[in-house]
C-alpha cells in the first residue's frame, strides 16, 4: 500500500539531500566561506591536510607491509620446525621398524622356544643389519640435533626424546656387544623406540597444527589489512575530494557571483547586490563591489538629474529669452507696417533700428542657446544620408540676395561623382550658411565667393573661398573662439561672434575638422571635412 503522507516527506528529504550536494547552499561550503582566515591560509591548510592524508596512507602501507613480512618469516620458522620433527618421526619409524623386523622374525619363535638360535637370530639380525641399524640410529641421532630451539611446550617432549635416544643408543650397543640374544634388552629397546616414535609424532603433529593455524591466521590478517588499507585509501581520497570541492566552491562561487554582478553593472544594472558571506579577501572584494555598485548608482542618478536639469534649463531659457522679443519685434513691425496710422521718416528710421537690434538680439540668443546645448552635450545629431550638393545650393540661395546687394559674385563648383554624405542635414546647413554669410559679409564689392568640394582619403572636403581681406596666421585658430571678431567684423557691428565657434563644434560632432587657409591681403578659404556617406 502506498503511504501517501510519506511521499511529500520523502520529497522534502530528497530536496534536502540535493541541497547538500548543491553548491551555493551547501552548509559545508558556507562554513568554509565563513572562516575568518585569508584565502592563502585556507589553501595552505587544505594542501597540508591532503599531504598529511598521503603521509598517513604511506605509513599505513608500510605497517601492513611490515606485518606481512614478519608473518611470512614466522611461518618459515614453523615450517622448518615441522620439517625437523617430521624427519625425527620418519627416522624413529625406520628404526622402530628395523627393530621390530629383527625381533619379529621366525627366530622369535625359536628363541621363545628356547631353541638354539637359528641363523638370522636377533643378534645376527642386529649384527647383519648392524650397519643399517647403526645408520638408522645415527640418522635418529642427527635428527635429534635440530637446527633450532624447540618451543617451550615442545621442550619437555623433546627432552624425553633425547633421553629415549640415549637409552636406545646404550641398549643397542649392549645388544650388539653381547654374545647371547637378549630378549629383555630387546624388549626394552622396543619400548624406548616406541616411546620416541610417539613423542616424535606428537611433536610433528603439534607443529603441523601450529603451522595450519598460523596459515589461517595469516590469511585472515591479510584480508583485514587489505580491507583496512582500502578503506583508509578510499576514505582519504573521499576526504581530499570533499576538501577540494568545498574549498574551491567557497572560493569560486563568490568569484562567479562577483563576475556576474560586475557584468550587470557594466551594462548599467545597479539594482542588485552580490552576496558573498566569506570572511576572507573574497568577502572584502564582495563588499567593495557592492559599495562600487551603490556609488555608481548614485552618480548615475545624479548625472541623469543634472542632465535633465540642464535640458530643462535650456528649454526654459529659450522660451523666457524669446518672449520679450515678441513684443519688441512684433510691435515695431506693426508700427513699421503702418497698421495703425502713418509714421514719419524719423519714426521709420528708429523703428528700423529697433527692429534690427531686436533681430540681432534674437540671433545672439539662438546662437548662445545652440552653443550651450552643444557644450552641455545636449545636442543629438539626427544622422541621415543627404545630398551635399543640395545643401550647398540651398545655402547659396539664402545668401544670394545679400551677395547681389554687396556686389559679390557667388559660384558653386559641383563634382558629379561625389554627392551623398552622412550627417545631420540641418546642422550641416547651419555650418554652410555660417561660412557663406561670413564670406559674403567680408568680401568687398567686385569680389567673389567660390564654393567647391572634393573627396580625399575617404572623406569629403568642402571649400568656401572668398576674396576678402584675409586673416593673419596668428588669428587662424583664434577666430574659432567664442565672441572673437576680427577688427573688420567688429566694425560692421554684425554677427554674434559665435558662428564659427558653433560651426566648429558642429563639424567636430560629426567627426570632421574645420580650419582656414589664409593670408592677409590674399583672401580666405575655409575648409571643413565630413565622413563619406554609405551610399
Amino acid at each position: 500500500m502506498i503511504n501517501v503522507r510519506a511521499a511529500p516527506a520523502r520529497a522534502a528529504a530528497f530536496v534536502k539531500w540535493r541541497r547538500l550536494f548543491g553548491r551555493a547552499d551547501n552548509p559545508l561550503v558556507h562554513g568554509i566561506a565563513r572562516l575568518p582566515a585569508k584565502v592563502r591560509t585556507k589553501l595552505l591548510v587544505s594542501f597540508l591536510g591532503i599531504a598529511v592524508l598521503l603521509l598517513l596512507i604511506a605509513l599505513l602501507g608500510l605497517r601492513v607491509l611490515g606485518q606481512s613480512n614478519s608473518r611470512s618469516e614466522s611461518l618459515k620458522a614453523l615450517e622448518e620446525r615441522a620439517a625437523g620433527y617430521q624427519n625425527l618421526y620418519t627416522e624413529s619409524t625406520t628404526f622402530r621398524d628395523l627393530l621390530a623386523y629383527c625381533a619379529g622374525g621366525a627366530d622369535v619363535g625359536k628363541f621363545l622356544n628356547g631353541g638354539r638360535p637359528a641363523p638370522g637370530s636377533t643378534r645376527d639380525c642386529l649384527r647383519s643389519i648392524d650397519r643399517t641399524v647403526g645408520t638408522a640410529l645415527a640418522g635418529l641421532g642427527t635428527a635429534t640435533r635440530l637446527g633450532f630451539e624447540p618451543a617451550a611446550d615442545e621442550a619437555a617432549i623433546f627432552g624425553q626424546i633425547k633421553g629415549d635416544y640415549r637409552a636406545l643408543n646404550g641398549l643397542v650397543a649392549r645388544i650388539t656387544a653381547s654374545s647371547r640374544p637378549s630378549l629383555a634388552l630387546h624388549a626394552r629397546a622396543e619400548v624406548f623406540a616406541d616411546d620416541l616414535k610417539i613423542a616424535a609424532a606428537t611433536l610433528a603433529n603439534r607443529t603441523q597444527n601450529k603451522t595450519d593455524a598460523l596459515v589461517a591466521q595469516n590469511r585472515r590478517a591479510y584480508s583485514g589489512s587489505r580491507n583496512l588499507f582500502l578503506g583508509v585509501g578510499i576514505g582519504a581520497i573521499g576526504l581530499a575530494l570533499l576538501l577540494g570541492f568545498v574549498l574551491s566552491w567557497s572560493l569560486i562561487g563568490p568569484i562567479q557571483r562577483i563576475g556576474g554582478r560586475l557584468a550587470a553593472i557594466a551594462s548599467g544594472d545597479f539594482s542588485g547586490h552580490v552576496d558573498v558571506p566569506n570572511r576572507d579577501e573574497l568577502g572584502d572584494l564582495g563588499k567593495n563591489v557592492n559599495r562600487m555598485n551603490d556609488e555608481l548608482r548614485r552618480l548615475y542618478r545624479e548625472l541623469e538629474a543634472t542632465s535633465r536639469h540642464k535640458s530643462e534649463f535650456l528649454a526654459n531659457m529659450s522660451h523666457e529669452l524669446r518672449t520679450p522679443l515678441n513684443a519688441i519685434i512684433g510691435f515695431s513691425q506693426v508700427l513699421r507696417e503702418k497698421m495703425f496710422g502713418e509714421i514719419n521718416q524719423k519714426q521709420q528710421e528708429y523703428l528700423d533700428d529697433i527692429l534690427s537690434s531686436g533681430n540681432h538680439l534674437l540671433s545672439l540668443i539662438n546662437d548662445v542657446l545652440d552653443l550651450s546645448k552643444v557644450e552641455a552635450g545636449q545636442v543629438e545629431l539626427e544622422v541621415a544620408t543627404f545630398s551635399l550638393r543640395e545643401a550647398l545650393e540651398r545655402g547659396i540661395v539664402m545668401v544670394r540676395e545679400r551677395a547681389t546687394q554687396n556686389g559679390v559674385q557667388l559660384a558653386l563648383e559641383s563634382d558629379p561623382n561625389v554627392d551623398l554624405v552622412e550627417g545631420d542635414e540641418r546642422r550641416i546647413r547651419q555650418v554652410i550658411f555660417n561660412l557663406l554669410s561670413n564670406a559674403v559679409k567680408f568680401t568687398p564689392a567686385g569680389g567673389r565667393v567660390d564654393v567647391r568640394y572634393q573627396q580625399l582619403n575617404g572623406e569629403l572636403r568642402i571649400f568656401v573661398a572668398d576674396t576678402g581681406p584675409g586673416i593673419a596666421p596668428e588669428d587662424h585658430e583664434r577666430i574659432f573662439d567664442e565672441f572673437h571678431q576680427t577688427d573688420e567684423g567688429a566694425q560692421q557691428h554684425e554677427g554674434t561672434g559665435l558662428g564659427l565657434a558653433l560651426s566648429k563644434r558642429l563639424v567636430e560632432l560629426h567627426g570632421g575638422h574645420i580650419w582656414v587657409d589664409s593670408e592677409l591681403g590674399k583672401g580666405s578659404t575655409f575648409v571643413f571635412t565630413m565622413p563619406m556617406g554609405s551610399a
Binding site: H319, R322, T323, N326, A327, G330, E337, F340, L362
Partner: protein
C-alpha cells in the same frame, strides 16, 4: 475670410495684445484664452475657424489641449496651429506628430504671421 473667428491661446499679455491688434486690424474676430482649459471650453462653445495655440501654457500644455480638442467631435475638425518659441527641428516634428496642423515660430514676423493665418483659414473646409 474677413469676419472669421480666431481663437488665440496665449498667457503672455503683451504677446496677446500683439496678436489681437494685428488680427483685428486685418479684419478678424478674436476669441481669447489664457489657459488650455479655457481654450477647450471656448472652442467647444463657439466653434472658431482657427485656433492659434501657445505651447507653453500654465496649466495643461498645448499638446494636451490639442488632444482634448481632437477628442471632442464639435472641435475635432478645427485647424490648430502651434505658436512656439521652441523652433528646434525635433520639436517641430513633435508638434506635427502630435497633430497640429502647423506651427508659427516666435518671435513672430508680423507680415509672415498674417500671411500664414490667411493660408490656414483658406485651407479650412467650410
Amino acid at each position: 475670410m474677413a469676419g472669421d473667428q480666431i481663437l488665440v491661446v496665449e498667457d503672455n499679455e503683451k504677446n496677446m495684445k500683439l496678436f489681437r491688434d494685428v488680427l483685428e486690424a486685418t479684419g478678424y474676430r478674436l476669441l481669447e484664452a489664457t489657459t488650455g482649459e479655457q481654450a477647450v471650453d471656448l472652442a467647444a462653445t463657439h466653434s472658431p475657424n482657427l485656433v492659434l495655440m501657445d505651447i507653453q501654457l500654465p496649466d495643461i500644455d498645448g499638446v494636451e489641449a490639442l488632444g482634448r480638442l481632437r477628442g471632442n467631435e464639435r472641435t475635432a475638425s478645427i485647424p490648430v496651429v502651434a505658436l512656439t518659441a521652441q523652433a528646434m527641428q525635433d520639436d517641430r516634428k513633435r508638434f506635427l506628430d502630435a497633430g497640429f496642423d502647423g506651427y508659427i515660430s516666435k518671435p513672430v514676423d508680423v507680415v509672415e504671421f498674417v500671411k500664414t493665418v490667411k493660408e490656414y483659414l483658406r485651407k479650412e473646409p467650410s
